[in-house]
């Protein structure tokens, strides 16, 4: 449809305004991550939107190389929290994707597990805070508290609904002729699934896995309740980072925030095409 010039002008003006609102918070954090300590809480006329003297000191600080500007020493550095976030999110994704893909195929092809769609949506509906008491007790009993594998297990369960629904709708959409042909050739159904269907579904599998990874990586509340010291994740570590001497360690926290924010943003852009399907439990496709 042909649009008038005034509409086009209005459109660009509105989009630019939205871009401004979108980007200001992000840019402020990026800028803060490179500011030296003297500029962290500069106010009034001294407030700068871009660091006057850009520095990597904040990153060096969170990785334990204390610099002259920052006279505080850290209990422990960001290395282990990053490792904890990575391990728990990756293995949580492995758990959710394995169980979710198998179950999605089972339901899509053989009609097994009819209770799963509703049960899994209900699982997603409940606030995690309302089921954490038994989880905390069980995790303590199983010695899973404050470990990355304990986190991975709960992440795997919490994101199972997304893995299951995404993969189920992908399997539903997949043409069945090839599978049927292989069955005629005498392949067993399990072999068809592992040797033909799964390799064909490599791209959707990768998208679903990235989607689930982003969700796991983004968690704060569960890690806050289940980890205390050894295996805290990046957000928990970031939130705990302040000292009585310097107050809020703005720059250091911003540096950590940047480290936490970059992977999901890149992955999210990579799987943009599947975001709608993922977020609506497969109800909508783009």
């Amino acid at each position: 449809m042909k649009r008038s010039i005034s509409f086009e002008l209005f459109r660009y003006a509105a989009i630019l305004a939205a871009m401004g609102v979108t980007l200001v918070p992000i840019l402020w954090m990026v800028s803060m991550a490179f500011k030296p300590i003297g500029e962290w809480s500069a106010t009034g006329a001294d407030l700068t939107w871009w660091p006057k003297q850009p520095t990597l000191a904040n990153f060096q600080f969170v990785f334990g190389h204390s610099t002259n500007d920052l006279i505080v020493a850290l209990d422990h550095t960001a290395v282990k929290p990053i490792l904890s976030s990575l391990l728990s999110a990756v293995f949580g994704t492995v758990i959710a994707m394995s169980a979710g893909t198998a179950a999605g195929y089972g339901l899509s092809r053989f009609g097994s597990g009819q209770n799963l769609p509703l049960a899994l949506i209900q699982l997603r509906l409940f606030p995690p805070m309302a089921v954490m008491i038994p989880v905390m007790i069980m995790w303590a009993f199983l010695n899973l508290n404050d470990t990355w594998w304990g986190l991975a297990l709960i992440y795997g369960i919490v994101t199972l609904p997304f893995a299951f629904w995404l993969m189920k709708t992908f399997f539903d959409d997949m043409p069945r002729e090839i599978e049927e042909a292989a069955l005629v050739e005498g392949c067993s159904r399990l072999r068809v699934f592992t040797r033909i269907t799964l390799p064909m579904m490599r791209a959707p599998l990768a998208s679903a896995a990235l989607f689930v990874f982003i969700l796991n990586w983004s968690d704060y509340l569960i890690a806050l309740l289940l980890t205390t010291r050894e295996w805290v994740t990046i957000p928990v570590y970031m939130a705990s980072l302040s000292s009585s001497m310097t107050g809020q360690l703005y720059g250091a926290k911003a540096a950590l925030g940047l480290i936490a924010a970059v992977p999901p943003v890149i992955m999210g852009i990579a799987i943009q095409r599947h975001l709608v399907r993922g977020l609506t439990f497969g109800a909508l496709k783009q």
Partner: protein
């Protein structure tokens, strides 16, 4: 629906392949769904019973007895009667409702407005689209920290306001009870408007072009086309988008807790923050279990009702 098609094609396959045992698919299907079933059972049945059991006691992790011995601290449903009289709980619930009633409609309207701007092609569409989606991919806790910095009294928000007003503005956003709630809602709207935009745009693109053209020829203006053609076509998608945001917004915790910790006082204490505080500070887990169960029951009823409505809507559409 999908189950029906699955069984039909399965019958076809079995008819063609005599070598395959008729129940091979059923057995494999059972085995494939088993891990997911175990995980669901592991996180629902046992925890639910445990929660039910603890909720009728005064048990706390500091009480010196294991949770299985909590019956020694049986308090004859006092937790539930306490809950009914717990003003902090009810005001947290009320606050959660206020946040939801402000944020979800705001996100919906802003998202819909953006989506209509993106309905047809224009130069730069892809790059604008990618950038506008970024907030929803930022880790919520990090987004909370971004807004914590923005709303400091000497921070950038006040800086921008000062430039507009022309005089120094030093509003203490996060330590004023009313402003803190507004700041928290702004953060939520910033982060989740992109989700509405994304979903509604997907629905908007599905509206048939020829109907729009026909309506234009018949003399309908943009608003009339929007109300009579676009909105009815998008009904299901709008319901889904709103349902997702209502569900997620009810859980609001990460951004809010990083920004204000529920404070000042209890000014931004939503239901999740309230439960978190009772869990970690007051440590009365018997009471927490009662609150949690009450919420779970109410939500389950709402969920079953909503699912039935949605299934009906889908049937009508199909």
């Amino acid at each position: 629906m999908s189950a029906a098609t699955a069984t039909i094609s399965e019958d076809k396959m079995d008819a063609r392949t005599k070598s395959v045992a008729p129940d091979e698919g059923t057995r494999l299907g059972f085995r494939l769904t088993l891990p997911a079933q175990i995980l669901v059972l592991f996180i629902s049945a046992f925890p639910l019973l445990m929660q039910l059991y603890i909720s009728v006691t005064d048990w706390s992790p500091l009480s010196g007895v294991g949770w299985w011995n909590a019956w020694e601290m049986w308090n004859s449903f006092a937790n539930y009667t306490d809950l009914a009289a717990d003003t902090r709980f009810w005001s947290a619930l009320q606050r959660t409702a206020i946040v939801m009633l402000v944020c979800v409609p705001a996100e919906f309207l802003l998202g819909l407005a953006l989506a209509t701007l993106f309905a047809d092609d224009f130069p730069g569409k892809r790059i604008f689209y990618s950038i506008l989606l970024m907030p929803m991919m930022v880790v919520p806790a990090v987004a909370g920290y971004m807004f914590f910095m923005l709303f400091q009294s000497g921070g950038p928000v006040n800086d921008i306001l000062s430039r507009i007003v022309g005089a120094p503005v030093t509003v203490a956003w996060l330590s004023d009870p009313n402003l803190a709630l507004i700041a928290v809602m702004i953060a939520d709207i910033w982060q989740w408007t992109p989700l509405m935009f994304l979903i509604l745009l997907a629905g908007l693109v599905g509206v048939p072009e020829d109907q729009m053209k026909a309506a234009t020829l018949l003399g309908a203006n943009a608003w009339q086309r929007f109300v009579t053609i676009v909105l009815p076509k998008m009904k299901t998608i709008i319901i889904i988008a709103l349902a997702i945001r209502v569900i997620e917004n009810f859980k609001i915790f990460d951004t809010l807790y990083i920004m204000t910790g529920g404070g000042p006082g209890v000014a931004t204490e939503t239901i999740s923050v309230y439960i978190y505080k009772v869990t970690t500070q007051d440590l009365i887990w018997g009471y927490v279990a009662a609150i949690a169960l009450a919420i779970l029951i109410v939500l389950s009823i709402v969920a079953v009702y909503a699912m039935k409505r949605m299934a009906k809507a889908r049937e009508v559409q199909a």
